[in-house]
Every structure is written in structure tokens, then in C-alpha cells.
């Protein structure tokens, strides 16, 4: 058997190989570190309650170019000669709610007061309005667009409440909540349903609990 002599050359070669092995382990760890991407964060929510500013208008097919906005009462009518609808709107982005589009509704309850009916009482269906309108200018001929399916219905005299959390939540996030179009969907001739309006002190209102 040949004797193995440790020369300076062999010693240097051994140290070099050992060093490169260590370096190899290190680079493997570096690759592992780079491949493990991680980003964490948190977001706190604040809670509050408010009643969004309200406005409404009646639009009348018999007076198609006349504005009937923010009156003490508004009437939904089903007539031979021409229907009338009532638009009710809320603006959660305006004061006092002033909610940004990143906010949301935790709960929302709409209250409507029907002060009188003539004939019927007919069923009133509330269709979600899908395009802008202004209580100060809207008329039958400039009525906004509205959805095909009502969010809720009601009939008869008295105070009614409706859970409208999902529509309010979606409206807050879109930055444009247009409210509802109230339409007589029973169709009794000359039936009317009158609701308390903006100028009555008992206008439609929403109790909104929000997060932002």
C-alpha cells in the first residue's frame, strides 16, 4: 500500500473543495429564500351609524315635462289616462354619512310611511333605479332607468320597513346609489298610494350601520 503524504498542494486542494461545498449549501438557501415570497398586512375597520340624505320626486305621465320634486307628499297612481311613479333616493356619499367607496353597509333598514290610498290598496313595487336623476329636475320624459325586478313591495296605509342592506352596500361601493322607483303593479284603475315626502318631516329614511 502506498503511503499518502499530505503535501501543501493536497492540503490547499482539500480546503478548496470544502469551501466550495459550503458555498453550494449557501446558494441553495438563497434560492429557497427568494422563492418564498411573503407579504402580510392587516386592515382595521371603524363602525358607525347614519341616515343618508334623502330626496324624492313624483313623475306624472299626464304632465310629462313637469317636475314634482321634494314635495310634502308623493303619489303613485294607476290610471286610465296616465300613471305616476315616485322616485326615492339616498346619497350615502354625501353628508352626514360621507362614506367612501371602500366602505360598506353592515345593515340598512328603509322606512316608508303611506299616508293614504284611494281604491285598492294596490301593490307598490320598488324597482332599483340604475341611472342618475335629480329630484330638482326629473320629469316623466326624463325618468331614469330602473331594474326589472323589485327589491321589495308593499300595500296599504301605515309605516313599513324593509331590509335593504345588500342594495345599500353595493351602492356605497359603486359610489352611486340611485334609490328606488315606486310603481303600482296591481293596476286597479284610478288607484293611488300616497307616501309622506321630503317636506313632511316623515319622508322615507334609511337607518344605516356602516363600516369603513
Amino acid at each position: 500500500m502506498r503511503r499518502f503524504h499530505i503535501t501543501r498542494f493536497r492540503l490547499a486542494a482539500a480546503i478548496l473543495l470544502g469551501s466550495l461545498s459550503v458555498a453550494g449549501v449557501g446558494y441553495a438557501a438563497t434560492v429557497g429564500l427568494a422563492s418564498t415570497k411573503l407579504h402580510t398586512w392587516s386592515q382595521s375597520l371603524s363602525k358607525g351609524a347614519c341616515s343618508p340624505t334623502e330626496s324624492e320626486a313624483e313623475i306624472d305621465a299626464s304632465n310629462p315635462n313637469t317636475n314634482f320634486g321634494n314635495q310634502a307628499s308623493e303619489t303613485v297612481a294607476s290610471k286610465n289616462s296616465g300613471n305616476s311613479y315616485v322616485l326615492i333616493g339616498f346619497d350615502p356619499a354625501a353628508s352626514p354619512c360621507s362614506l367612501p367607496t371602500t366602505a360598506g353597509a353592515d345593515s340598512a333598514t328603509l322606512t316608508i310611511r303611506v299616508t293614504g290610498t284611494f281604491k285598492g290598496p294596490d301593490t307598490i313595487s320598488a324597482y332599483p333605479i340604475t341611472s342618475p336623476w335629480s329630484a330638482a329636475t326629473v320629469t316623466w320624459n326624463t325618468m331614469p332607468l330602473y331594474g326589472a325586478t323589485p327589491d321589495f313591495t308593499f300595500a296599504g296605509v301605515g309605516t313599513s320597513t324593509f331590509i335593504v342592506t345588500a342594495p345599500l352596500d353595493a351602492g356605497i361601493k359603486s359610489g352611486a346609489f340611485y334609490g328606488w322607483m315606486l310603481i303600482d303593479t296591481t293596476g286597479t284603475n284610478n288607484a293611488t298610494t300616497t307616501i309622506a315626502g321630503y317636506g313632511s318631516g316623515q319622508a322615507p329614511s334609511i337607518a344605516l350601520n356602516y363600516e369603513k
Binding site: R8, F9, A12, A13, I15, L16, S19, L20, V22, A23, G24, V25, G26, Y27, A29, T30, G32, L33, A34, S35, T36, K37, L38, H39, T40, W41, S42, Q43, S44, L45, K47, T102, A103, G104, A105, D106, S107, I163, V164, T165, A166, P167, D169, A170, K173, N209, E211
Partner: protein, 128 residues
């Protein structure tokens, strides 16, 4: 022979320096494991992205939307935990970030039934 040993000496020095860098990287890896909370390690974004949530008409959370997620996060896992005011977990879910143009909104669904009124914070993470 002496010249050859000098050459090996130079190579050895370079190798040891490389090993030094590797050792620093190894230490960094250990530091990551020790880190907690909001430490960002080579993430696809360094920003605290804004999240919103949708509810149904019963007021229960149906999904969480994380806004303006960078394209660089495509393929990573976005996890969301809904927390109460004690920062206890109410429910959690996750999704894979898809490819999109520009900053995109990523929606996470699949939460158990939780009333939005009880949610006071979101804990979020992006991992890849």
C-alpha cells in the same frame, strides 16, 4: 509547484469570500423564520392593499375584495382572515391571484357565515 500553490491560494480566498456571502444568506433565512407580524420578505408588493367586503341582504359577508393587486402577484396565494374586535379569527379563506391587466381586484369567497357587524379587521397575506 510554488506558483501552483499561489494560484490555489487565490482561488481559495475567492471561495471563502463566496462562502461568507452564502453564510449571510443562510442567516437571513433564519431571521425570516424568527420574524413575525408585518415583516415583508421578497413579496410581490410592499404595500398594504385596501380590502372591502360584500354582504348579502342578511348582512353576512359573502366575499372580500382586495383592490389594486399588482400583476407581479399573479400565481400567489391571497389569504384573508376576518377578525373580531379581539383580533380573534371568525373565518378565513384564500384564492390564487390570477393574471390581469394592471392592478386588479381579487375577490375571495368561501367564508363561513359571519355577520359583517362582528368583523372589525382583516388579516391578509400574499405568499408564493
Amino acid at each position: 509547484m510554488k506558483r501552483l500553490i499561489n494560484i490555489f491560494g487565490a482561488v481559495l480566498t475567492a471561495a471563502l469570500l463566496s462562502a461568507g456571502v452564502a453564510a449571510a444568506a443562510s442567516l437571513g433565512l433564519s431571521t425570516k423564520q424568527l420574524g413575525a407580524g408585518n415583516l415583508t420578505v421578497a413579496g410581490c408588493t410592499a404595500s398594504a392593499l385596501t380590502a372591502t367586503r360584500n354582504v348579502n341582504n342578511s348582512g353576512n359577508v359573502t366575499q372580500v375584495n382586495v383592490l389594486n393587486v399588482p400583476q407581479a402577484c399573479a400565481g400567489e396565494t391571497l389569504a384573508v382572515t376576518l377578525e373580531n374586535n379581539s383580533h380573534a379569527s371568525l373565518t378565513s379563506s384564500s384564492t390564487i391571484v390570477g393574471a390581469c391587466t394592471g392592478g386588479c381586484t381579487v375577490s375571495v369567497t368561501g367564508f363561513s357565515t359571519v355577520s359583517a357587524t362582528t368583523v372589525t379587521a382583516y388579516a391578509l397575506s400574499l405568499t408564493g
